[in-house]
Symmetry: C2
Subunit: 148 residues, 2 copies
Amino acid sequence: MHSPTELAEKFREKQLKLTPQRQLLFGLLHQNDSHPSAESLFEVASKQMPGISLRTVYQTLGELAEMGELQLVDVGTGAKRFDPNMTDHHHFVCESCGAVRDVEIAAKPKMRGGSGKFVISQVGVVFHGRCENCVPTAKRSPAQQAKK
Amino acid sequence: MHSPTELAEKFREKQLKLTPQRQLLFGLLHQNDSHPSAESLFEVASKQMPGISLRTVYQTLGELAEMGELQLVDVGTGAKRFDPNMTDHHHFVCESCGAVRDVEIAAKPKMRGGSGKFVISQVGVVFHGRCENCVPTAKRSPAQQAKK
DNA sequence: TGTTAATTAGCAAGGGTTGCGAACTAGATG
DNA sequence: CATCTAGTTCGCAACCCTTGCTAATTAACA
């Protein structure tokens, strides 16, 4: 679902209009693997579409998430992050620069304990640590990525 | 570190005064396995100590967390939860009533991908789903637990 | 009992997000 | 192409959760 045509169809299916704002945001999100927050996506979008509203960014992102086009990821750094990668994966958050990376998990954890009556619909795994640019030995200053 | 005496010592070590507020909050937290938010702990505390301030609750919980006496858990439901269980475990969050339960994980996930240069200091795993009281078949209305 | 550094409480302010309503527009229709 | 209207956008106010600041209070030591 990366081509403009396919996007248009997806939107039409859901009775969503193909507005310039939606096209822009959808495109930006897919060019971007930094797991941006609404705020940082807004900043990028503003450059290409000066009058765009932060409100619209939130709204559009929420809609895309409902459509199953992207995930909302809460990595505990304040703002939610948006991730167009819908494959089964988890996240690594650099506690120094705030960067978020996708992480694949080989083993599926098994639960024990509990009554067994639980219905689990989603598992969120977040690794916190330091990325290559921020490991203690590295003298270079931490790359300040969107923490918002 | 459950007895009042041990608590007093711990505090003394850290040059923290043994105030009534701290004693109360520490005690309440350990009687409580519901992973309360600051707000809900505040409500409980207020019954026993009417004038206590929400500010003090936040402050005290923050201090206890720094002391390694409790964990701050962000399960993505808005407010942070506080958990005196410092053993290696993860959390299950009912998406209907907001209840939080401890979950033990048998398998430790192995990471693959990435450069291997990551330094992982913490892994947060949160399961989302429905608890016994809230599974779809149950007709009783979801138990509304502290979602704050 | 006095002294002092730590603590409390209250309020204001901050970040992130959402509700609301008025103005606007994509897309269907004629 | 003009019209119509449901769906959108945008700006603002308001919301929740949390923290900064400060004056008043108090635990703990001498």
